[in-house]
Symmetry: C2
Subunit: 155 residues, 2 copies
């Protein structure tokens, strides 16, 4: 597998202005399913890193690097799933109405998360365990930025 290619692909996509949305004509239920899938996978790749930052899981630099790279892509995926059309979904969702009544605040929370992920991606190259754990903690805080205000409290 050519490792340079996959980097170049994302570089090109972003340089070109990056259609940051896959396709906006999905059914409401599909939008919900897709955004929930993105959150599920953010959990898959962030969870082990959070465990490392908390000292519950042995630190592993390779896992931090790989999981950060996956989180980089995943951090871009949920947001178009909160399109206005998704409000009509008849499936279970913990999304709160504030998502649509406070769009600027919701956007800010997304931006904070994406910035924190970019910071983690950056330090994931450095091999400095302390800096990486701090960056992981920074991402964790921004998860809360959305979950506290825009998601129903989980039991």
């Amino acid at each position: 597998m050519n490792k340079r290619l996959l980097l170049a692909g994302l570089a090109f996509a972003l340089a070109a202005g990056g259609a940051q949305t896959a396709f906006a004509q999905a059914k409401p239920e599909v939008l919900v399913k897709q955004r929930q899938a993105a959150m599920t996978l953010q959990g898959k790749y962030f969870g082990p890193m959070a465990g490392m930052a908390q000292g519950k899981v042995p630190y592993n630099a390779e896992t931090v690097a790989f999981n950060s790279a996956m989180l980089d892509a995943l951090s871009r995926m949920p947001w178009d799933g909160f399109a206005a059309a998704s409000k009509d979904a008849t499936v279970k969702t913990a999304a709160l109405p504030a998502i649509w009544s406070e769009p600027a605040k919701f956007q800010e929370a997304q931006d904070n998360f994406q910035k924190a992920v970019q910071n983690l991606v950056s330090v994931s190259r450095g091999g400095d365990e302390a800096a990486q754990k701090a960056a992981i903690g920074g991402v964790g805080k921004t998860c809360g930025g959305c979950h506290q205000n825009f998601r129903e409290k989980q039991q």
Copy 2:
């Protein structure tokens, strides 16, 4: 957002040998949920491109570039979710026993898919519509390579 950083993150992860698995100690049900989430998102980003290749959706080079980049990451995500432990999951899954009884064939199908995605990522930079549509078709064929032999027929 620093566009170079996110590329460098994945470059580093892969150059370092890349732990291609997030963390192997999840519960069987979680493994199933995570791998299904990855498939859901592959559909989200591949679907519009398949539509373009089939002439059902207007061709858009930016969407091809961005969606290919997302698919690049997503193409790496489902496989550790098929760990042997996931066979014990009590949730609904279309995964067939051949996944575990024919691991070499399953691996080959994964490899074919990932190679086809890398090819798509490569040509997604070129702006040649015909080549991109051909590469999209190539990915579609390799989806079938798994779905025909390793997934229950969908109704």
